[in-house]
């Protein structure tokens, strides 16, 4: 697959893999299926890169070479970045000869297994192998320091076998600079820099997820929710003082379970732009792993496969990202916002942009590590080592005098104290260990995470298998403590009293003498070391520059609604609004969530009448009990992430235009909403209700890509829909008034079917929503529909995801108790 993708990417108009085709034939296999697999694979590669047509992909040369000589690249892959030099044509030639000799040796018994994707004894080296897994588990379970030293030695020896860039370097630790170990900062200061990986509740079991959270909270480090929401009971502290709350709450493209309550229970709000181990892809959770409990945390339907969209539908530029950072800061001003990027050529530029969005931390994720659920096409030839991305981000941030505004966090296959030191020298200040922490809890790298059959009870929701889980928070604490102790020993040898002193001092790295022929021509000058003329500039984080919320409109709302939030009488507030007022209602919602929990306030508790043009993100992350009634219009992101409450938008008083033919709210309304209601007396922009999982909305027309990736909720459109309607929609229902019968042509039919308003409950629901719309907005169009309802009802098209319909039917067919999968706890 990679060969084909490369050839077409470098300009081939056609590829004839004749030897492979002959091989397929000789195996008596189906050539057509092989060709189909290649086509599907190429499509997947293109989609991961955000390219829709072969015409655009062909010759696009979206590659970076690692380990190829610059001359070779200039001659044959002109223009491709190759940052560390490497082999020419001779080395691959020699290797081809070796392979040939092996295949045709007398007495050879077939070809070796290879072990590219699965570890094999005589195959490719894998960093996680029987020795490293067993030694780490034995070391942490028995809290045996000697065994852990052995684990680190195994890891470091492997790295010397040229599997990672950091394995090619040594750390310069001259005896003269060493200081006594006692002078080095304590373990507690070091573990505070450690985080676990973003693995969702759903991809891994509740037991495994909570083990990591408890351990990191005990240590003072941070665990990461991943993109699957989090059960609210985990925000309460356990009787023994343990906390199961993930300090880092991830905001990924799926926005699963991202509510105000979720967001206020965090110290770190991490926007996942991409994932190092599978760049260009969102998370996927197969239906088999989605039981009642998982579905509840994600506001989705049990049994229905969830696919996170590759991009965030509210982020198409750095400005959009800045807006999301602002929204998150508004909902939880006490948390910092971090942005996760993947290592790639150009990541420095992106990091510099991120630093300007007022985010506090940039995460650079490398291609190592990653889930066992990552598709094979993402395991190889996708992503880059974190060493390159981190070094580049450090360079660009330092050069642009932005480095002191953000922290740099790095993850991607980090395992040992040596890894931490190398990362710090390249500019890392915080360090993520994902796979290693899971291995400490019992993961043995089955790589079956996507099948729900994890026999050690980690990446499964099967109760019988979860019962086999034996991981403990103690084991994870032991692991991170051992790593921190190792870091202290390195610091003493390096003569540093704190890890912070070393950040960005890549000059302390030396290239090891490399005997291997393929390593002989590597050149790391571009990677290590800050250029001399920048030595005086700050190389590490100094002070955060969060968004200034002093002029936020909600301060006034908070003042006037304070008593109501504390249980007092309902309050009605009227305020003018203008488009510089962003995220109106968001700061208020965060405060309500903090004080009242997931419940929010009773409906009608706080009613805010706004007049004017609202700025972006009106009612973002809105909670129950708050009604925002805007007379005027609103910018983009109305009701983004709303989890309750109500947004009503009507034309300004006295407007003489027909509301149903004028745009009243901007793009990306209701993105990632999990609850609440929106009534818009007018047209909405593009990407309406993308990834909605619970909100109900009535709108009088929408732009392209409406209801994309929706998993729940109800959307009633009284007017036209744009192209690509309901693409990737796996749950929820949409009803479109379609007198001209254009909806079928505009709908992406991959996952949904179209029908009429069926039984009474359907008709009742739609009619009630329209009636509510008319009550709230006095919509003339809505009024006309109700006036002639008997005739109009038949002109509605019902859009229902096929899979969702199947699950709903199954639920109706069985008594409720039988639908609930057995779930412990």
């Amino acid at each position: 697959m990679h060969d084909i993708a490369l050839l077409v990417g470098y300009g081939a108009a056609a590829v004839n893999p004749y030897l492979a085709l002959d091989t397929v034939t000789s195996l008596r296999a189906d050539r057509a299926r092989y060709v189909q697999a290649l086509e599907d694979g190429l499509l997947k590669v293109m989609s991961k890169n955000g390219i829709s047509t072969v015409q655009s992909y062909r010759g696009a040369q979206i590659f970076e070479a690692v380990g190829l000589d610059a001359e070779l690249v200039a001659r044959w892959f002109t223009g491709t970045p190759t940052r560390i030099g490497g082999i020419g044509l001779a080395e691959p030639g020699d290797e081809a000869r070796v392979r040939h000799a092996r295949g045709f040796a007398p007495g050879a018994d077939g070809l070796p297994v290879g072990g590219l994707y699965r570890w094999r004894r005589d195959g490719e080296l894998h960093k996680w192998n029987p020795a490293t897994v067993a030694t780490l588990q034995d070391a942490v379970r028995r809290a045996d320091r000697t065994r852990f030293d052995e684990f680190e030695r195994l890891c470091d020896d492997e790295e010397r076998a040229l599997v990672t860039l950091r394995g090619l370097w040594t750390i310069d630790e001259p005896a003269a600079v060493a200081i006594p170990l006692e002078e080095v900062e304590p373990v507690a200061a070091i573990v505070a820099r450690f985080v676990t990986g973003a693995m969702s509740f759903g991809s891994i079991s509740a037991e495994a997820h909570e083990t990591l959270a408890i351990a990191m909270n005990r240590l003072g480090g941070r665990s990461n929710s991943g993109e699957g929401g989090e059960e609210a009971h985990r925000f309460e502290v356990d009787a023994n003082g343990d906390s199961r709350r993930s300090a880092i709450k991830q905001i990924a493209s799926g926005r699963f379970g991202v509510t105000a309550h979720y967001l206020v229970n965090a110290d770190d709000l991490q926007i996942k732009i991409a994932q190092g181990a599978k760049p260009g892809e969102g998370g996927q959770l197969p239906g088999a792993k989605i039981d009642e409990r998982i579905a509840k945390a994600r506001s989705s339907t049990p049994g229905v496969t969830l696919i996170s969209p590759p991009p965030h539908h509210d982020i198409y530029s750095i400005e959009d990202l800045a807006q999301l950072v602002y929204d998150l800061t508004a909902v939880n001003p006490r948390a910092r916002v971090s942005v996760k990027l993947v290592s790639e050529a150009g990541v420095g530029t992106i990091a510099a942009g991120v630093a300007k969005t007022h985010a506090a931390c940039v995460v650079i994720a490398g291609y190592e590590g990653g889930t066992g659920a990552a598709p094979l096409s993402s395991l190889k030839h996708a992503g880059l080592p974190w060493e390159l991305g981190l070094a580049e981000a450090q360079h660009v941030l330092v050069e642009n005098r932005l480095r002191d505004r953000v922290r740099l966090q790095v993850d991607g296959g980090l395992r040992t104290s040596r890894d931490v030191i190398v990362a710090a020298l390249l500019g890392g200040e915080e360090f993520g260990m994902a796979t290693a922490s899971l291995v400490a809890t019992g993961c043995v790298m089955l790589r079956k995470c996507h099948l729900n059959t994890c026999s050690v009870g980690i990446a499964t929701q099967d109760p019988a298998l979860r019962a086999k889980y034996t991981g403990t928070a103690e084991d994870v604490v032991t692991y991170f403590t051992f790593v921190a102790e190792g870091v202290r020993r390195h610091l003493a040898r390096l003569g540093a009293r704190t890890l912070g002193e070393l950040v960005g001092h890549a000059d302390r790295l030396r290239v090891r003498p490399l005997a291997h022929a393929k390593a002989a021509r590597l050149d790391f000058r571009g990677v290590r070391g800050v250029p001399a003329h920048h030595v005086a500039l700050p190389r590490s984080f100094a002070r955060a520059q969060p968004w200034d919320l002093a002029d936020h409109l909600d301060h006034e709302l908070l003042r006037r609604a304070d008593a109501t939030i504390s249980g007092g009488a309902p309050v009605a507030i009227a305020l003018p609004v203008q488009n510089s007022h962003r995220a109106v209602g968001t700061l208020l919602s965060g405060e309500i969530a903090r004080r009242t929990g997931a419940r929010g306030l009773p409906d009608g508790a706080i009613t805010v009448a706004l007049a004017g043009s609202a700025g972006q993100s009106l009612g973002a992350f809105l909670v129950s009990g708050v009604t925002l009634a805007l007379a005027g219009d609103a910018n983009d992101y109305v009701g983004k992430g709303m989890s309750g409450g109500r947004i009503v938008v009507t034309p300004p008083a006295g407007a003489r235009f027909a509301p149903e033919s004028n745009v009243i709210i901007g793009n990306v309304a209701l993105y990632g909403a999990t609850g609440g209601e929106l009534f818009a007396n007018g047209l909405a922009g593009e990407r309406f209700a993308v990834r909605n999982s619970g909100a109900r909305a009535v709108v009088e027309g929408i732009g392209d890509h409406g209801c994309e990736y929706m998993t729940g909720g109800v959307v009633v459109v009284l007017g036209p829909v744009g192209r690509n309607f309901a693409a990737g929609m796996s749950g929820g229902t949409a009803y479109v008034f379609d007198p001209a019968q254009t909806v079928r042509a505009l709908t992406n039919m991959d996952l949904v079917e179209l029908g009429a308003i069926g039984d009474d409950s359907d008709a009742w629901l739609v009619r009630e929503l329209i009636a509510e719309h008319v009550r709230r907005t006095r919509s003339p169009l809505g009024g006309r529909l109700l006036d002639h309802w008997e005739a109009m009802a038949s002109r509605f098209v019902k859009v229902l995801p096929t899979d969702y319909k199947r699950v709903l039917a199954a639920r109706r067919a069985r008594p409720a108790s039988a639908v609930h999968l057995p779930v412990a706890g």
């Binding site: 297994v113 570890w119 005589d122 067993a134 059959t453």
Partner: protein, 473 residues
């Protein structure tokens, strides 16, 4: 990759054994052949792990996930080809290997359970059952037997001869594995065997109830048809045999595979009384089912004590029971191992836990933590064994008129003159099995001390590859 969730749907079922009464009445193999449908299901339990710890646990590095999947798909002949590529004689490991692969199986991570074998044929005697491990050993046997039955095991003589000659001294598993592979690579391989018939311990040590000798003869026929020459009754280095120098002069390489037959002795008063015999002397006769047991070692009606709790002790126990001993006590110096892994003995390491062999299921009494102090005689014949229980310190007298010493082995009995030995008296070699003498190699027990057959096969194979490479240089 087997069936998704197969290990959840189907539990581990090991092939059954014949009823104990029936077993004790003959010398035939204890296990019964498995229904191929069951084998297929069991193969479908393999998950094709990202890290197949089984494959690491196997000294041969057998491609276990690969052949398990092929069996699951019904592609048995390909499964045999895969298996045979790394394992010269899967019909042996499928019967005799203690299967470290299975204890390293990811499905065996959960603590071991003591429970009656599912087939119940062992009379309900609890046996250590790894709760879920894939039945890899049974799979190997099934694949190998299917291959022989279907005629897939055909002689594959080399198309081209290199003109090089290699002598292999010793026809045990290590020697045969090396000879088979060297021959197939085109070298002339001549095996020298001191005994009357080839096979080493396979023939002269392992009882028929674990390995019927026609299984060995079937394999030897294939090897000879491929061109391996086996010269029996030739003791290299003996006055009536060729000297080592002569052998080396006549061959391009010489591989020593003479094993570690020197038995550990019992050093207590009374050892010289009549009635005590070394396990290997005892086992040599009766496991040849075609030959009736020699009178000298027949323990019918006797009170037998087997000293040594290991596999060979068990073989002696099973043999004594079949001969009709009045009583059999098997004594182990060490205390009984725990029923489950200790924290320091974590998966995937070989579990040091209490096990019950098929012979131990059949009868006899097991003693642990028991040190023999002296033997009591009457008229020069053994009548009792005296010892101390190490836990209580109690002195014990056990009536005994036949004592079998299965105390393990201490190394080779004879080695080529001038070859360097290691500190344990075994032939010292480098990583490619080369000894201190040019062209002389040492493999199997003579090199690593008494060990598993799977190691013999692995060393035979790997040494053949090394010797072949050396001969081609």
């Amino acid at each position: 990759m087997g069936k998704v969730g197969g290990f959840i749907a189907w539990e581990r079922i090991v092939p059954g054994k014949r009823p104990v009464g029936e077993r004790l009445a003959d010398w035939r193999e204890v296990t019964v052949d498995e229904d191929p449908a069951e084998t297929t299901r069991q193969a479908g339990r393999c998950m094709d792990c990202g890290i197949p710890f089984c494959h690491q646990g196997c000294p041969l590095g057998n491609p276990i996930p690969e052949f398990a999947d092929l069996v699951w798909q019904g592609r048995w002949s390909e499964a045999y080809r895969r298996l045979a590529a790394s394992n010269e004689m899967p019909e042996m490991t499928g019967r005799l290997c203690p299967a470290p692969c299975e204890s390293a199986c990811v499905l065996a991570i959960a603590p071991a359970e003591l429970r009656a074998l599912p087939t119940g044929e062992a009379g309900g005697v609890p046996s250590l059952v790894l709760p879920g491990a894939v039945t890899i050993e049974a799979l190997e046997k099934a694949i190998a037997e299917r291959a022989f039955a279907e005629g897939w095991v055909v002689p594959r003589p080399p198309r081209v001869r290199t003109g090089k000659r290699v002598a292999v001294v010793g026809s045990g598993l290590a020697g045969l594995a090396a000879a088979a592979r060297l021959n197939r690579a085109g070298h002339v391989a001549v095996v020298y065997e001191a005994a009357a018939r080839p096979g080493g311990l396979l023939r002269y040590g392992i009882p028929d109830f674990k390995l019927e000798k026609h299984v060995l003869d079937r394999r030897l026929a294939v090897l000879e048809a491929e061109g391996v020459e086996i010269r029996c009754g030739v003791t290299v280095g003996a006055p009536d045999g060729p000297s080592w120098e002569q052998l080396r002069a006549e061959h391009d390489a010489v591989i020593v595979a003479t094993g570690a037959p020197r038995a550990r002795e019992l050093d207590v008063p009374g050892r010289d009384l009549g009635g005590a015999v070394l396990a290997m002397d005892y086992l040599t006769e009766p496991r040849r089912s075609s030959v009736p047991p020699a009178a000298s070692h027949d323990v019918r009606g006797k009170h037998v004590i087997v000293l040594g709790g290991g596999d060979i002790g068990s073989d002696c126990l099973g043999t004594a029971l079949r001969q009709g001993a009045a009583s059999v006590v098997q004594i182990e110096l060490q205390p009984a191992p725990p029923p489950d892994r200790s924290p320091a003995n974590a998966w995937p390491a070989w579990p040091l836990v209490f096990r019950t062999s098929s012979s131990q299921e059949e009868g006899g009494v097991r003693e642990f933590a028991f040190r023999t102090t002296h033997l009591e005689g009457q008229d020069g014949r053994l009548v009792a064994l005296h010892g101390t229980r190490l836990d209580s310190g109690a002195a014990v007298r056990l009536p005994c008129d036949a004592l079998i010493l299965a105390l393990g082995f201490t190394g080779p009995t004879a080695t080529p003159p001038g070859v360097a030995l290691d500190e344990r008296g075994n032939i010292a070699t480098d990583a490619s099995y080369a000894t201190s003498l040019p062209g002389l190699y040492g493999i199997g027990d003579v090199h690593r001390g008494a060990s598993l057959i799977v190691w013999a096969l692995a060393e035979g194979r790997d040494a053949a590859i090394a010797v072949d490479a050396a001969l081609r240089r």
